[in-house]
Amino acid sequence: MFRQMLYTQLKWSLIALAALVVAGFAIPVLSVQRAGIVQPATWDAAVLLTAIRGWGVAYPILAGAVGLVAALTAWSHDHRGNHVYALSLPVARWKYAVLRFAAGGVLILPVVVALWVGGLAAGSASTIPNGLHAYPTALALRFGLATFVAYAAFFAIASGTSRTAAWVLGVIGALAVVQIVLSAAGVHAAFLPDALERLYTWPGPFELFTGQWMLINV
């Protein structure tokens, strides 16, 4: 059962997945190449760190993209068929969702591994100055966890009904309208930005996405 789930989801996402794997490998390699490590004689560690830091934004973006692709792949074909096929199979609903989730999770791993390998390759192919170190494993672990969080979030949204999605968007929209009205009335209330900020700070789900994503660091 799981093997077939995995096969179908792999088939549906093969092209996108291949592109994401390439991106996962390429980002750490490019970040080091673009930082100009190739010429140690003219090397400026501060500039190197600044350049490496500049590439940091690519990692959480890639994590979000991988999570989105995996979640959409898990549910899109069932959505298209209005879930008739899934509902006609002799498997408990929760088990079906877990199988889909697990299959998508397995498909995420190649991207994480590609990023790890890319980090190892980038770190070993360059001459890193004293005092700085490459952290391919820490980077890959963090990336993997962030990708799974994004995947879980998108999976939960995609598994819901249109009505659920409408509720969620409706609540956000209502908050935005109230915010605008209060601001126009001169009442200082920033609960929408505050609410969004809660997602990116402890104990929100996306704190992992913030901060520095640096392959090479002190």
Binding site: A46, V149, A152, F155, V218
Partner: protein, 361 residues
């Protein structure tokens, strides 16, 4: 004297006498004119001061007091500036301790109304935007006070470009100093990392003045450092830089020599601020007073006096503190973020399993 010589002198005297006389007259006239102009300027100043005083009299000024901190401000701004001043006092008293007596000056804060900047008879002034929130005003007051104290520490200390840290976020000061020490492309910084205290002092710009470039940088370091910043307006400098980068050591040294005092020291503001912080912390009560006591002394002496310890010991203490301040795991995420992420994954999956999408309706 011969007759010819006497006639020549007489002719010269006759010819030059009027010019001399007129020159004498011009100098006198010019001096008189200058005096008249000065008098006119003084009268104008006096009128201007009176006019300003009238304007000041029209504008009501409040002096806000928080501890020994005094902030003079427009009455209309008092409500906005008062909480900022109170908060600034708390921060300053925490920094200065018993040295809060140094805050003897009133610090002026005036709104900039349109294009006219109205002066106040105080040591320091600062522009406060009428729309600035109290937090911004707070930072402005701290900045003004710090600037005043640094000024009083003397020109040498001021030009050394270290900060007292009032108006900056010093939460990660030593971690940043660590990064600076680790990444500085500098022979002196490398030696400092390895334990050479004199090299640390040199890297901080506190070593001997002679042959600084050679004590700070290797030629490969210079290839990096000289290429930083904006391009020189002088073609000769640009040619020398190109030659330096192409491999000419002499070009690098020559260019460094041309840069002179503008050649940056390996360790900059962050490292220097951390050194000042160590000195003031070690010095305890009265450290600030001792720092400002002799504004003509070398910076090293001022810091040593503030710390109450020999300069070499101070540098050694700084080095140990900075080396121990490596920022933890900036690439990996904090443990709590990882745990939160794992928890959210489980929660979101549970939400997915409870989805209403288990019927067609």
């Amino acid at each position: 004297m011969s007759d010819r010589r006497r006639i020549g002198i007489a002719i010269l005297t006759i010819v030059l006498a009027p010019a001399a006389a007129s020159a004498q007259q011009s100098v006198a006239a010019q001096q008189a004119r200058l005096a008249a102009l000065e008098a006119a300027a003084n009268r104008a100043d006096s009128i201007a001061h009176r006019a300003d005083s009238v304007l000041q009299a029209r504008r009501v000024l409040d002096t806000l007091r928080s501890g020994t901190l005094r902030v003079v401000t427009d009455s209309a701004l008092a409500q906005r500036v008062r909480p900022a001043a109170a908060h600034a006092w708390r921060v300053l008293s925490a920094h200065l301790g018993a040295d809060t007596v140094l805050l003897r000056e009133p610090y002026g804060a005036i709104a900039n109304r349109g294009s006219r900047l109205l002066p106040v008879a105080v040591e320091a002034t600062a522009l406060i935007d009428t729309a600035a929130p109290p937090l911004e005003t707070f930072w402005t007051i701290l900045g003004v006070v710090e600037s005043n104290l640094v000024t009083r520490s003397g020109r040498t200390f001021r030009s050394w470009d270290g900060s007292l840290g009032f108006a900056t976020d010093t939460t990660h000061l030593f971690s940043l100093a660590y990064v600076s020490l680790i990444t500085a492309p500098s022979r002196a910084a490398r030696l400092c990392r390895a334990g050479d205290v004199a090299a640390c002092a040199a890297a901080l710009g506190l070593g001997p003045d002679s042959n600084r470039a050679a004590s700070w940088y290797s030629v490969n370091d210079l290839r990096v450092v000289l290429g930083r910043g904006t391009s020189s307006p002088f073609a000769r400098d640009r040619r020398m830089l190109a030659a330096c980068r192409a491999g000419s050591d002499s070009a690098c040294w020559n260019l460094a020599a041309r840069r002179g005092p503008s050649l940056p020291a390996p360790l900059g503001v962050v490292s220097r601020t951390s050194l000042i912080a160590i000195a003031l912390a070690r010095g305890g009560a009265g450290a600030y007073t001792r720092l400002l006591a002799d504004s003509s002394a070398p910076v090293a002496a001022q810091l040593s006096s503030a710390a109450g310890m020999p300069f070499d010991d101070l540098i050694a203490a700084w080095r140990i503190r900075v080396r121990g301040a490596a920022p933890p795991g900036t690439t990996g995420a904090p443990i709590r973020a990882e745990l939160a992420a794992a928890g959210w994954i489980v929660l979101l999956l549970a939400l997915a399993l409870r989805s209403a999408r288990w019927r067609l309706d």
